[in-house]
Symmetry: C2
Subunit: 347 residues, 2 copies
DNA sequence: CTTTGGCACTCCTGGCTTCGGAGTGCTAAT
DNA sequence: ATTAGCACTCCGAAGCCAGGAGTGCCAAAG
């Protein structure tokens, strides 16, 4: 219950308006409520209540003499306080299990497939951040010469290969030197957290082997890209599902969305803060912090590798989305994914 | 000149209709032609000619008493016989050079960036197939243990790291065994074409080292995925550019396109046959072999690594696209990309 | 035989009006 | 506090009209 008086009946009416609007995409009228849901009062009473809910900011009217539509605040209290959490339907549960079970064993592909699955199930746009290097453990580095003065540094982490970096050297360095250097680095860094390994470690080893700054630079760069800056790669699927929603009958609404999905950066910004929380996060309309996205909402849940959250699974859809269902879907999918990762036959 | 009589004037009129329609997106009227282009004849004459062009299948009328619009056949003869090839504008040339020059040195990222660049320049949807393993040379394989009985096989080719494959073993194998096996494989396969290296090579080396079938299987799988089946990965960029085109005012047209771009497979099928040709390819409307795409066209040019075409750069846009300009753009971009690859500081 | 001016005819487009219906807000009665 | 009743607002679909753009065809001219 909210402080500015959301008595039980108001709460019920608000919840019902959200529910009905989500289902129909039409502004909800007082009569609709009294007819479809048994409120035990007349439509006139409901009208009064709705007027008050509007005054309090939970509902808005598209125009005089139209039904009511939830505002951002309305959705917010619905999500936080009013809605019934849903469980995954048995059918969905089965599909998730089956599809993830048959999925590949490469981490990247697994995330891609999970995203596509979630896109299909949610009939919305699903996206996922791929694990960032920070949370991984260093396993192995291998320096390989592929041309006289060109080489590639490959960093393998606990998730599997995660980065490679080309480098050029000023002088020829023989393959043996590279092999020795690789071994020395491995000895020093094995099993440490990627975030712990500093440039100093590399510098020390390189110096020890009597090699130059160009080699050091290359390795540092490879580690850097394994740690993979602030914005990890993002997988997305199901854009076309959004087209079915009446809110996108107007093509202009789509442009910004398409651009944002292609850019990835904005998507990441939206979900970045959800990473720190173990719980699902819901962002509604203007909460996304982007005017172009103000009639969309996003549901985000983290997925784990062992005890740590290593990425986020999200669903982006119209603000008028079935929050309870999508939360269940996203959580269930993330859980299956986490389990699949923990089972250890993936990486 | 075509056999069923395309005299010079008809050819000119057809070319002009295409040109004008591409520019305006409006059906072209006989008067428009006589006014904007000096034909030296009256609009009545043009009307007669247009009627004949329509009878011959080059033009169509959206409805009686509307101007004419080119048919697929009309565009086709325009592209094949009538249009003036364009050169890259100096501005575009500079942008291509500059942006590709600053681009990353990782092959995958370079293709991504090139695609985005082409999307921006063409104001259409650009996409590119990434190089398939077949055309690469084997450089190095490295087997690395990342957990007691789990390892990863990394295959490095002349383009750089191109595949990794996780594997599990039935019995513990010590790191030294893996290292020795790696060396033996390297000795045997180095610098051979990926397509030449058969399972037999692997089997021989594995047997020689006295290791089991599980190891062999893992390596074969890694090579397999480095060769990367029939459908290579595809980078795409600029979907939102299509929204500006009047042909997509209707949202339904977009759905199939979005789905197809997300699926990738269909995109690949469209351009697959262009791989064998050195020349740019244009596919118009129904030539795409897909009803849902029947008012789109695709321009495809191969890019090379050394003497070999290793991938395709394409532009997908409305059938009413500026063919000459897009051909110039795609060719110019592909050429710059090829040169960048040949210069050897990428891979 | 080709070209062209003229003209009737077709069909689309945009604007305007109209009308019905859906909903509300308010008031007065319960 | 609830509710029946009613006036009022506003949207949206339907219909209608006028204007205009463009064609096709014919008959005359080169």
């Amino acid at each position: 219950m909210k402080q500015p008086g959301l008595d039980e009946r108001k709460a019920y009416i608000l919840a019902t308006v959200v529910y009905e609007y989500v289902a129909t995409a039409e502004p909800v009228a007082s009569q609709t409520l009294t007819q479809k849901y048994n409120l035990g009062v007349s439509s006139a009473t409901v009208r009064n209540e709705m007027a008050e809910l509007e005054a309090a900011g939970y509902l808005v009217q598209p125009h005089t003499s139209a039904g009511r539509v939830p505002s951002d605040a309305g959705y917010r209290t619905y999500v936080d306080e009013l809605m019934q959490p849903e469980a995954l339907t048995p059918g969905d549960r089965r599909r998730i299990r089956d599809e993830l079970h048959d999925a590949t064993r490469e981490l990247d592909d697994l995330i891609d497939q999970t995203t596509r699955l979630l896109g299909r199930l949610s009939k919305s746009l699903a996206f996922a951040t791929k694990p960032q290097g920070e949370t991984q453990r260093f396993k192995h580095v291998q320096l390989i010469s592929i041309a006289p003065r060109t080489g590639v540094a490959i960093v393998v982490t606990s998730y599997g290969v995660s980065a490679q970096s080309l480098f050029e050297l000023k002088a020829d360095v023989c393959a043996d030197d590279l092999t020795r250097l690789s071994s020395a680095l491995n000895a020093r860094c094995a099993n440490r957290l990627m975030s712990e390994i500093g440039d100093a470690d590399v510098a020390a080893v390189v110096a020890e082997q009597g090699l130059g700054d160009d080699v050091r630079g290359a390795i540092v760069a490879a580690l850097q890209s394994a740690r993979a800056g602030e914005a990890p790669e993002i997988a997305a699927a199901g854009t076309q599902n959004l087209l079915d929603q009446p809110e996108f009958a107007d093509v202009r609404k789509l442009r910004s969305i398409l651009r944002i999905v292609e850019e990835q950066r904005t998507l990441y910004d939206i979900v970045a803060d959800a990473m720190t929380s173990e719980n699902p996060r819901v962002k509604i309309g203007h909460e996304l912090g982007n005017d172009e996205l103000s009639d969309l909402s996003v549901v985000t849940v983290p997925y784990r590798f062992g005890p740590n959250a290593i990425g986020m699974l999200s669903i982006l859809g119209p603000r008028r989305m079935p929050y309870a269902r999508l939360l269940a879907l996203a959580s269930g999918t993330a859980e299956s994914l986490s389990r699949r990762l923990a089972d250890g036959d993936v990486r």
